[in-house]
Each structure stands twice: as C-alpha cells, then as structure tokens.
C-alpha cells in the first residue's frame, strides 16, 4: 500500500569515507524493483566561474589551481592552453615536455593516493591505508614512497606539490636545470620498479562487480598517450575537437545536487583512466605494454572496480614517460615565450587524473576574464555512476541495508570521484514503496 510506513525502508550512511566530496545516495525501491537512483552532491558551491570574471588572465593559473588540491596541475594546464589558444602562443618543444612532465607528477601522486590509501583497503577489509599499514607496513611504505616520487616531480617543477606556483601563460616562471632533473632519476627508477610491483599486486585482486557497457570518452593525440593535447574520441566512433565540446556535451542541473550533470547526446558516459586505457593502450610505452600484457586482462575493462588496475598501468606509464622526458631534456634559453594579450575566446581540454577537463574563457581587451566555463571530470561521470548503480542494485537487494549501502559506497569509491569542495559525507537512503 502506498504510504504505508511499515513498507518504507530507509538505509543511511552518514558519511562516505575515502572519497573527495560531499554527497548522498538515495535509492527508491518499489515492488522489489529499483525505481530511482540519485547520487546527490552537497558540495558547497565556491563559484569559481563567477569570481574569475574581472580577474586578469595572468592570475588565472593561481586561481583555478584552488578548485582542487589533488589535481591543481590539471586546472592550470587546461587554463593556460585555453588562454594560449586565444593569444596565438606557440609553445616550444622543451616547455611542452616540461608541462607533460609536470602532468606525469600529478597522475602519479593522485593515482597512487587512490590505489594505496583509498581503494586498496576495500579489497582487504581495512578502514584506511593506515590500518592496512599495521598489517602490511612494507606495502604501504612502498605506496607512500611512490606517491612521494610524483610529489617530488611537481615540487621541483612547480615549487610545491599542492598548488604549484610556476605555471604561467607562455610557459613557466622558471625551469629546472638539467642537473636538477637528473638528480631525481635514481628515485624515479626505483619508483618505476615499484609501479611494476603495484600493477602486479592489484592485478591479483578479486573484481566482482557486474560488467557494464558504456560510452568511454578520452582525448587522443597523434602519437602519445593523452595528457595535454588531443581530440575527443569515444569507443562509439565519435571524433570531435575541443571546440565542439559544448555542442555535444550538455550540463544540466538537477535539484538534488550542487554539481552539474553532464551528458553526451542525452546519455551518460565515462571519462578517466578506464576510458583512456581502453582508447589509447596502443600508445603506452613498450615497458608498460609488456607488464600489462602479463596480467592477461582483456581490454576494455568493463568493471568500475578495475579502475585500480587502469590507474596502476598509468602510474607505470607516467614514470616511464617522466624518465624518457628527463633523459632527453635540454634546458630552454628562456622559461617562457612572450605573450601578447588580446580579446577573444579560447577552449582547451586536457586529461586530468580523473578524466577530461574542459575550460572555455572569453577575454576582454584589457586582459580581464569576461566569461569562464569549467567542466570537471566528476560532473561528467556522475550520471554514469548513477546508471552503473542502477544496473548493479537488483543483484544487491537481497542483502541487508547495511551491506547494500556498504557495497554501493565501495562501488562509488572505485570511480575515484573528486568533488573536492565539501565535507565528505554520503547519506544513503533507500525507500521501499509498494
């Protein structure tokens, strides 16, 4: 009977742990069927797009970094590429390489944090990476040292690992000497070995969530695994330029969330490591291909829980790539190229650790921002996560409320959602309507 309180079941998780962001999950079940799944984001809005208006373009890299403490480099990269597109700046190869090296550092620290401290504890039933360290100290120490290697790269190029300071339109405020970079080589070689072990370790985990078929979106460049540049491609045959992003991808607001939902031609899609790997595995380095082949996992990965494998592959690739860039590095004569500021509109998309990060800026004659639009990976993946849960939940309904909630929380975590503006809590409510 509708409205009968005895038939209404509410399940709650007051706080979702080991994710970035404040959210809740509401599941409605009617006559034993999953009726509605709402991943609710409560991230307090910080209004970056609004207060960027009127700021000078030269301030933009420092401001957008503050959107996310875990992936500030991604925001800086999409921003400078979009602005450089307006000003017609050509970036010389050495500076281009250093930006890729900086991005490698961020992929390493962000992915390793998620692998060792956030997701792996789920496979062993630990509450945290620190708890895992009590039983497996050497393993967690290896993870922390690996994470540190990524942070060391960012610190050398950017002054510090969280909110680095050297990125500017036209290049960097300062670039490292050859010797400074070479001093990192031994540690990065150690880290590359540790990344091989990490990939082998996570490949032995049990991946039990149901397979999903979804649209993958990533950048793809002509020759290298995508970070700073490339066109947008999908596994369904689409091929778009960043300038066409807003024609095909639509952000909409839902009443239950402060993060906008993004859809592609009306449907959910997935961006991030699973999509990048599926669409660009042919561009991995020979070493990464070899170690990955040993795992014998077929591509594409159809389980969200296998994100941990995809991230481990990318950590290994990023270290191999960092060593390659350092080996070929010649310090450029100048850390940046001259920039002539003019009015116009520019867009760029780069590959943040969690996927495609799109920026569009319109600039006034005086060099101030007229309009800013930023589409982060997690707002793109949010709808996909809901669809995935909708697909998965029928197989969980026989479990207790607590077990269902815990499995959903773990599943959401495996997507590495980054809604980095809020207290972290997930309220899980399940309503039984009959």
């Amino acid at each position: 009977m509708p409205g009968n309180p005895n038939n209404t079941r509410t399940i709650k998780i007051d706080m979702m742990a080991r994710v970035e962001g404040e959210g809740a999950l509401n599941v409605t079940v009617k006559d034993g069927q999953v009726q509605d799944v709402q991943l609710r984001i409560f991230e307090p809005p910080r209004f970056f797009e609004a207060f960027l208006q009127g700021r000078h373009v030269n301030e933009v890299p420092d401001i957008v970094a503050r959107i996310c403490g875990i992936c500030p480099v991604a925001y800086q990269m999409s921003a400078v590429h979009a602005l450089e597109a307006i000003f017609g700046v050509e970036i010389p190869p050495a500076i281009r390489d250093l930006r890729r090296l900086l991005y490698c550092g961020e992929w390493i620290e962000s992915h390793v944090l998620h692998i060792y401290m956030l997701q792996a504890p789920d496979f062993f039933g630990f509450a945290s990476g620190l708890d895992m360290a009590r039983v497996h100290p050497d393993l967690v120490k290896q993870g922390l040292r690996l994470k540190k290697a990524g942070n060391q790269l960012i610190s050398l190029l950017g002054g510090r690992s969280v909110h680095p300071v050297s990125v500017k339109i036209g290049g960097f405020s300062q670039v490292p000497t050859k010797n400074q970079l070479h001093a990192l080589t031994d540690e990065l070689r150690w880290a590359r070995d540790a990344a091989v072990k990490t990939l082998q370790w996570v490949s032995g985990f049990a991946f039990e969530d149901p397979e999903q078929d979804c649209t993958f979106l990533s950048l793809r460049g002509p020759s290298e695994y995508p970070m700073n540049t490339g066109s947008l491609i999908t596994n369904k045959g689409h091929h778009l330029n960043a300038s066409e992003f807003e024609d095909h991808f639509h952000e909409e607001q839902v009443p239950y969330s402060t993060a906008l939902h993004c859809s592609f031609q009306g449907k959910s899609y997935l961006t991030g490591p699973l999509a990048r790997l599926a669409l660009n595995h042919d561009q991995l380095s020979p070493l990464t291909k070899e170690i990955f082949a040993e795992t014998e996992f077929p591509l594409p990965f159809k389980r969200a829980s296998m994100g941990i494998v995809a991230r481990s592959v990318e950590v290994l690739y990023a270290l191999d790539e960092a060593l390659r860039i350092i080996e070929g590095y010649e310090q450029p004569a100048s850390p940046s190229v001259p920039v002539i500021i003019k009015a116009g509109t520019g867009v760029a998309a780069t590959e943040a650790p969690r996927g495609v990060l799109y920026h569009r800026f319109s600039v006034n004659e005086d060099g101030t921002i007229q309009l800013a639009k930023i589409v982060p990976p997690t707002s793109q993946n949010q709808r996909r996560i809901e669809d995935d849960l909708r697909n998965m939940l029928p197989g969980l309904l026989h479990l207790s409320d607590e077990e269902t909630a815990s499995k959903c929380e773990r599943h959401i975590r495996s997507y590495d959602p980054c809604i980095s503006c809020a207290t972290h809590f997930l309220k899980f409510t399940r309503e039984e309507v009959s």
Partner: protein, 276 residues
C-alpha cells in the same frame, strides 16, 4: 620521528580532521607527510578523518584540525558542535583561517554568482559570505597557507605531543627570501611581490621560482599597525607598487584581494584602492 616522551596526554590523543568549503589541499598535505605518516599514525589516535579512513568515531576530540570556510547555513551548527567537542582546535589553511579564495564572493552579489554558475539558482543554498572559522568559534592555533606547509603542521602536532605550546612564526616572507639569497623580484623584475607583508611559512617558494609572492600565507604580523602619523607597511608597499611599478587602482585592488583577500589588513588596502 614523532617524539612523545613528555606528552601531556594520558594516552594517544584523539585527533579529528574536519572539512568545510575547501579544495582538500590542506588535508592532502597531511597525507603528503609520506615519510612521517606511519609514525604519526602510531603516535596519535586518528579518530575522525573521512578523507583517509572509514572508521569515523564521535567526539570528544583532544585535537581537531579544521579545513575550509563557513559558506552554507548548515555549516554553522557543525562548527559550534565541533568546538564543544574539541580541546585544541587548529585551523589549517587559508579557507579556514581567512575565508579563502571563495571569500571573493564577499564583495559580490551572491545571487548574481549563483546565476552565473547554475541554470536553476533557486536550488542552491549558500550564505552570502565565506568566513573564517574564528568568526564563529574560538580558535586555539591558526596555520596559514594555501596550502599549509606540512612541516609546520607536523611541528605544531609534535609540540602538542611534547607538552610544548606551539609557536608559529609570524615574520614576513621577505626575511626568509633574503636569508635564502634569492634575487629580489621587485627590484630586478619590477614584479609587485607581496613578500614584504606576507607571513612566512612557505619557504619563499615564489621568489625562488622567479616570480612574485601573491600572499597565500596571509598577512605577516604588525604590517597594518604603526604609530600615529607613520603609514603601515602594507600601505607603504601599495604606494610603491602604484608609484614605481605603475600599477593602476584596479590592479591594486586585485593584488590585495586574492587568496586571503578578506583578512582585514589586506581588505583595508583593496577597499581603499577601490574607492580611488
């Protein structure tokens, strides 16, 4: 090493890490204490740190680190309750300590902001200001920085564990920059560096990377106070930027209205230039 020989706590202190509106970067700085994290985990009881652990225990807490600023109606009861539950409350980072970069809304019409970002602004619950934790409850120690310096945090924690009152340095970045022997970017490049009025803690990163400090550690002590008739350092520096580096008033406003723009000694300066 985390020494606990003289700890005033009878057992491992119960520590909470709590978040309001922020980017997570300061919490991440704790997790970036890679070399010391396991020793730290052994010296304290991490009772509440959702970013790192699903084992979330209720208060009371001996020590709470608070990240983020107060921006939503529901933040207010949360911070009051946390204060009641906590013996030593420490803010970490610019958001918690000054309101952070999102305090730029304090000079704007929040309804216009909502309309700029959201198609249906009526769904969004937000206060018209972003404010520091200290505007709502008493705060025992403040760690400035966007992000905090993780070594400063470790220092404060080890001091507390040793029964020592933490002393957080308050002098300006300029002193550390000179000690490190960097070439002054104001003199050599004509950049409007805020190092002379910004609090130390970062290690003079910006000038060491060949650029101007932008004040992310907030104002140094006493930069806004002087005997009658003598202009404070903040105002003198602004005059120099205007006269010698030819910054026009709108650029002066932006310079002082940044990551810690709503802290009084910066906002006084930016407001003054806005009215010029």
């Amino acid at each position: 090493m985390v020494e606990t020989q003289f700890s005033p706590y009878r057992k491992q202190p119960r520590v909470a890490v709590v978040k309001f509106a922020s980017c997570d970067g300061c919490q991440l700085s704790i997790l970036n204490l890679e070399d010391d994290l396991l020793a730290l985990g052994a010296a304290i009881d991490i009772a509440y740190f959702p970013e790192a652990s699903s084992n979330m225990q209720e208060g009371p807490y001996d020590i709470a680190f608070v990240e983020g600023s107060i921006t939503c109606p529901e933040d207010l009861p949360r911070i009051l309750e946390l204060r009641q539950q906590t013996t030593t409350l420490i803010t970490i980072g610019a958001c918690a300590t000054s309101g952070g970069i999102q305090a730029l809304r304090n000079w704007s019409d929040i309804e216009a902001f909502k309309q700029a970002v959201y198609p249906n602004p009526e769904y969004i619950q937000s206060l018209s200001t972003s404010t520091a934790i200290s505007e709502h409850v008493s705060v025992d120690y403040e760690l400035w920085g966007c992000p905090i310096d993780k070594r400063q945090l470790l220092r404060v924690l080890t001091d507390l564990l040793q029964g020592v009152s933490p002393r957080i340095p308050t002098h300006n970045v300029c002193i550390d920059c000179k000690r490190q022997g960097h070439v002054c970017v104001i003199v050599s490049q004509g950049l409007p560096c805020l190092g002379p009025v910004t609090r130390t803690g970062c290690g003079a990163i910006c000038p060491s990377m060949g650029r101007d400090c932008y004040g992310c550690f907030g104002p140094a002590e006493h930069v806004s106070v002087q005997p009658p008739g003598v202009p404070p350092n903040m105002t003198s520096l602004a005059q120099q930027f205007h006269q010698h580096l030819q910054l026009i008033p709108v650029e002066m406003v932006r310079r002082f209205r940044g990551i810690n723009g709503s802290v009084q000694s910066f906002s006084k300066e930016s407001d003054a230039w806005e009215s010029k």
